[in-house]
Amino acid sequence: MTVLRAEKLFKRYGNFVAVDNVSFSVESGKIFGLLGPNGAGKTTSIRIVTNIIAPDSGEVYLFNETAGPKLQEKIGYLPEERGLYKKLKVIEQLLYFGQLKGMKRSEALQKARFWLFKMNASDWENKKIQELSKGMQQKVQFISTILHDPPLVILDEPFSGLDPINTELLKQIILDLKEQGKAIMLSTHIMSQVEQLCDEICLIDHGKVLLSGNVRDIKKSYGKDTILVEYEGDSNVFNDLKDVQIINRSENRIEFRINADIKVIEKFQKELLSKVLIFRYELMEPSLNEIFIDVVTKKEKLIEN
């Protein structure tokens, strides 16, 4: 079911066009990734969807209704930068945000305690925000986002400031929410996370949509053009490679994309076998990270020309 539908959003600040004809939709039970470099128009798009600002033109539909103040309660929004009252106790903070989303105090209290327990944070209930570490604050902020059980959850860089253990914990909770049928909109720079979590993506830059669709389809459309080699031996052999683009290179490991004819590569492959010891050789689809860089740089070259 389509929970959120943004149609032809357009927003201009003076002469600067922040969002230019952007459309996307978010389904329930799916994670939608909104990607793009800094200043691409992600935050503006999210602010339009959350009804913080109005677009100059275009429409936002939430459950097929025109989005407005009434529907704000159906959205949980975790902004990129943390917004908590430093001097407030954790529980007071959660109660306030919950009540602002239309919850009753008792209901908010019960839910807040449930989530604090679930996030291993029950002990902090009466601590002031300023006594907490950044990671802890991030957890509190996340709880405040989903406290009122919104059908649409918008997360802007939800993993920043979290250690690996808490990153996993949060990932698991996001996947749980997806299981429960929530629509999740995720904005992040970390492509590995997008690859692990997102079903659909929309890549925007300079306010325009560059790429959108199902993650698997997008990767398939690029074909298998990336080679990963793990080896032992003289690394100089790779310096002879022509018409390839090295993505990642570290000791005994190299990842590159081929632009040349596959036959050249096959020849090189044989050469390689005779010179170094190969542990792993894999022909695969490009990572989302590569696709991201590809699309954005191509676009930028286009603009320069």
């Binding site: 009804n51 704000q72 917004g83 306030y96 602002l100």
Partner: protein, 432 residues
């Protein structure tokens, strides 16, 4: 525009309950009355000092009349003394700073009416007028004596007139305590001024805090900027009102239980002095009357505090929303602050002459009303129409302020990194 009262209520509740428990509020509520008494004490002390203490100046007198000098020294033997030295010698001494100055009394003083004062500079207006008054008193007596008027008559002429002002009320007449009410008005006016800006400042800091800590992003995804602004202003205003009511109740109880004790202490003192100074007026002093505080004044105090607070806090909130940190707010506010100081400059004018045209006009200007109208209501009988006009102007300007502030606030809270100019603020006002 539809407004969610439930959300405004949540915001008011949050702003009020988190602050009323804060140390800052409890301490300021406790220290407020102490500060009040310190200010009152300072006013009393300064008026006492300015009357009783004349500056210490060492002034020599060259008396060419060989007569009046003695009498003049007798009136102020601390500062003045007779000198046999010549003018040139005294000039030397003044330059060497062994002497502050010298006074020359010419022989024909009774006719010319001029004495000459030479100083190394300084002394102030009070010092000069004290010299003039002393010489004037002596010269005046000698002029009258020269005309053959007997010293007894002169003494009678010089005995002062006392004004016993009474106020006519429905139930009869009351003693008029003009000075007491003037001092009361002064204190109340200053208190309102301080409170308005204290609480307006709290609103502004809170807006800046929410913006700087990006809390506003979460709030704005839950409620309309107008609801956030209104809820905050009302919540903090309720806090201010709570503080004022606590103080009023404490003062009320203090007066009710404390006044009889204080009065009995003063009573004997007043009776004695009145008998000694003027026996004719002694019947006026019987049945001691105390100044009462009218309910109108208390109502005015509360109304003008709230109205002034709402007016300034919405403007301060708009300025707060447009900047990233407090120091920037102070800069934008500087021109406005200069304008807001005006009532302080006119307080003394209004107290001395509460019903003059200038006082009436100033007290009707909404930005000045909270301070100056309260002073006028305390110090005089303000015509009802003036109060009504002022109340209406306050209400109209509050709505204008919140309309404009909401527009600036709505845009300001989401813009970071640059300090907007006044031109930009006006542009935001015009934005749809």
């Amino acid at each position: 525009m539809k407004i969610s009262y439930l959300k405004i209520k949540s915001i008011i509740k949050h702003e009020y309950t988190t602050r009323i428990k804060s140390k800052g509020f409890i301490i300021s509520t406790l220290l407020g009355p102490i500060g009040f008494f310190v200010i009152m004490g300072m006013i009393a002390l300064s008026s006492y000092l300015s009357v009783s203490e004349s500056p210490k100046m060492k002034i020599a007198i060259i008396d060419y009349t060989h007569n009046y000098g003695k009498e003049i020294v007798r009136l102020d033997s601390v500062n003045l003394f007779l000198s046999k030295k010549s003018e040139a010698e005294l000039r030397e001494k003044v330059l060497k700073q062994e002497l502050d100055g010298f006074l020359i009394i010419p022989e024909n003083i009774l006719d010319s009416g001029i004495v000459y004062l030479f100083t190394g500079g300084g002394g102030g207006i009070a010092f000069q007028s004290s010299i003039r008054d002393i010489v004037n008193a002596v010269v005046r007596r000698h002029r009258l004596e020269r005309e053959g008027i007997s010293p007894l008559v002169i003494q009678k002429i010089d005995s002062p007139v006392l004004l016993d002002a009474r106020k006519i009320t429905i139930t009869g007449e009351k003693k008029e305590f003009t000075e007491v009410y003037a001092v009361l008005g002064y204190i109340l006016g200053i208190s309102i001024y301080i409170l308005m800006f204290t609480y307006g400042g709290i609103v502004q800091r809170s807006v800046i805090e929410e913006k700087a800590n990006r809390i506003i992003e979460v709030l704005a995804s839950s409620a309309k900027p107008f609801e956030i602004l209104l809820g905050k202003v009302i919540g903090v205003g309720a806090l201010g009102l709570t503080q004022i009511l606590i103080w009023l109740i404490v003062f009320g109880l203090g007066l009710y239980f404390g006044a009889p004790i204080i009065l009995s202490f003063f009573e004997s003192d007043i009776m004695q002095s009145s008998i000694v100074s003027n026996a004719e007026l002694s019947d006026a002093a019987t049945g001691l009357e105390i100044p009462t505080i009218s309910p109108l004044l208390i109502l005015a105090l509360i109304f003008y505090f709230l109205a002034g607070y709402f007016l300034f806090s919405t403007i301060f909130a708009a300025i707060g929303s447009a900047v990233d940190q407090e120091s920037d707010a102070a800069q934008i506010q500087a021109p406005i602050s200069m304008f807001l100081v005006i009532p302080l400059l006119f307080i003394s004018v209004v107290i001395v002459n509460p019903d003059s045209t200038l006082s009436v006009i100033l007290s009707l200007i909404p930005f000045f009303s909270p301070t100056l109208m309260v002073i006028r209501i305390a110090a005089s009988e303000v015509p009802l129409w003036q109060i009504i006009v002022s109340v209406m102007l306050m209400i109209i300007s509050f709505f204008a302020a919140i309309w404009a502030s909401a527009k600036i606030y709505r845009i300001g809270i989401l813009i970071y990194g640059k300090k907007p100019s006044f031109k930009e603020l006006f542009k935001w006002l015009k934005a749809v």
